[in-house]
Amino acid sequence: MNDAPRNSRSTEYYRQLLRVRTFEERVGELFVRGGTAGSMLHLSIGEEAAAVGVTAHMGDGDSFTTHHRGHGIFLARGADPNRMMAEIAGAESGYCAGKGGSMHIADRELGHLGANAIVGGGIPAVIGAGLSARHFKSNAVSVAFFGDGAAQQGVLYESMNMAALWSLPCLFVCINNQYGMGTKIDRSAARTEFEDRATAFGLRGARADGGDVEKVAEVAGELIEAARAGAAGFLVVDCYRFHGHARMDKSPYRDDAEETEGRKTDPLALQRRRLIEDALLSESQCDEIAESVTEEMDAAVDFAIKGRQPAQDALFQDVYAPGQPAPEPVDQRIAKVLAE
């Protein structure tokens, strides 16, 4: 996408931001309708620019991992919203056959090595992907997406150290939405310039305004190019978590004034304004995009709702590879023991 002329590139950014925003809104609604598997749903509303701006530079062969708040990243990277929504609903037609859910979406095709419900858990995998790129002499980059809260997990530093030491094609993207659950960033770190931590380990560190997708894309583009050449990087994208931590959290730990202020850094609003001001698109053209996105995401909800729950015998599938000894169901074992 980033090689396209400015016009179509900026429009595409806008469309992607909208897709993420709308998808997440639909997830929230699906939850209210009781259509999701559980309530551990973490929406990335307000954080769209990180997803769109970074994945704009990724392509075939590249890989990535995300945190629990990863819908937007994968969507921007090219996911099928139907299969994503279905997975969130715990349906068989989802990306992970209804076994993973919102926090565990992955896709081999698009190099999605997995969302992770362990804060920081997906980070070191990009080191391995970097080793693979080196081994197979590919030009692939591997990107770890995680939150500001994850920046206090030790494994991040172990991973950054290896990335720098071995000159791996890795990028660490810290989506700083200011909060880890109810803990504001200044209550989890004395110094919040996390990019300085990265440079101390020998990485390229940078920071970008998550209110502006074009700025994120610009900085990310430079870092990814450098990473492909072996200079691992670290990018903080500053944004604001518009809503609660998970769908149920009403954020009592922060006040309305802060939320109002925080929501002003809305990458969608800015991009729309910019497109119109720069006369790249008209108001109605913007609306048209919005409509088509709405249709796409409504369809995803329909798809998810129509999805079936996986059958009970799926329980024992895919613990191990096909053809390998599988776990024996407990009832079957008991039946054998008591058979006579």
Binding site: G38, G101, I118, G149, G180, P327, P329, V337
Partner: protein, 327 residues
Amino acid sequence: MSEPIEFTYRDALRLALRDAMTADSSIIVIGEEVGLYGGAYGVTKGLIDDFGPERLIDTPISEAGLVGAAVGAAMTGLRPVAELMYVDFIGLAMDQIANQAAKIRYMFGGQIGVPMLLRTQGGTGRSGAAQHSQSLEAWIMHTPGLRLAMPATVTDAYVLLRHALTLPDPTVFIEHKALYTQKGILDREQPADWGQAKVLRAGSDLTIVTYSRMVHFALEAAGSLADDGIDAEVIDLRTLNPLDRETIVASVAKTGRALVVTEDTLTAGVSAEIAAILQEEAFDWLEEPVIRLAGEDIPIPVAPELEAGSIPSPARIISTARKLMRR
């Protein structure tokens, strides 16, 4: 003596913490979201108002670091309650728990103890998927040096937590996420009977040995079985270390049949230990093999029906008990 009143499991836990912290000023609570947020499941809600942020310490997301901090605090005069938001995160802190907390007294020849409590919660019930639904008590039970309690009832939530907060050794306290809203009469004066299993329902036909949430499934099943003329004894282990072998052996010596029900996965799980003990110590009385009805040997899937299908249910306890009774 205070009048018994209805409480939730969650509220009983909170009250236990509050009472203990009032009685013992060396108790601090340290963990993610334990202060301002009040705990991911609300157990510590409001405690920060009573005891302040110096005793309800919100930590960064650093499981190894925060558990290690609790170890150091316990060695230097505090009695920390470290909270691990989900037992599933224990893999991040297992070195601090199993190599440090559990071994310090022994390695150092008895000089220094680690009187800390690790509070956490486990189990299925919220479609939390593979990394937020596990029952990992067997790892703890297999680690010498750690005590382990897993309360099933409102009163036990209170009395076991209070007792745990007087112990000289590192203790793991695993709550069940599906029990937080469970209601019951709280009897604060009840003796903790730490290390003693409880016969919650006397019966003569078979013994169901269990703990934590499965206690309720077992009691429900026992009720139905009674309608069928099968008289099940239900035993709640309450603590897994110390483990009360006497009570379960005595029961099986009486009934001749044992069904062990656990939510943790079958292989090398808690049910294996209980079965091993029963066949060792009640061998001559066993009419049938000890039967293990446990979690399937699989990661927990997110889809609600699959999740439910991955662990024992009252219906399966009933059908298994019937098979065991050859009915």
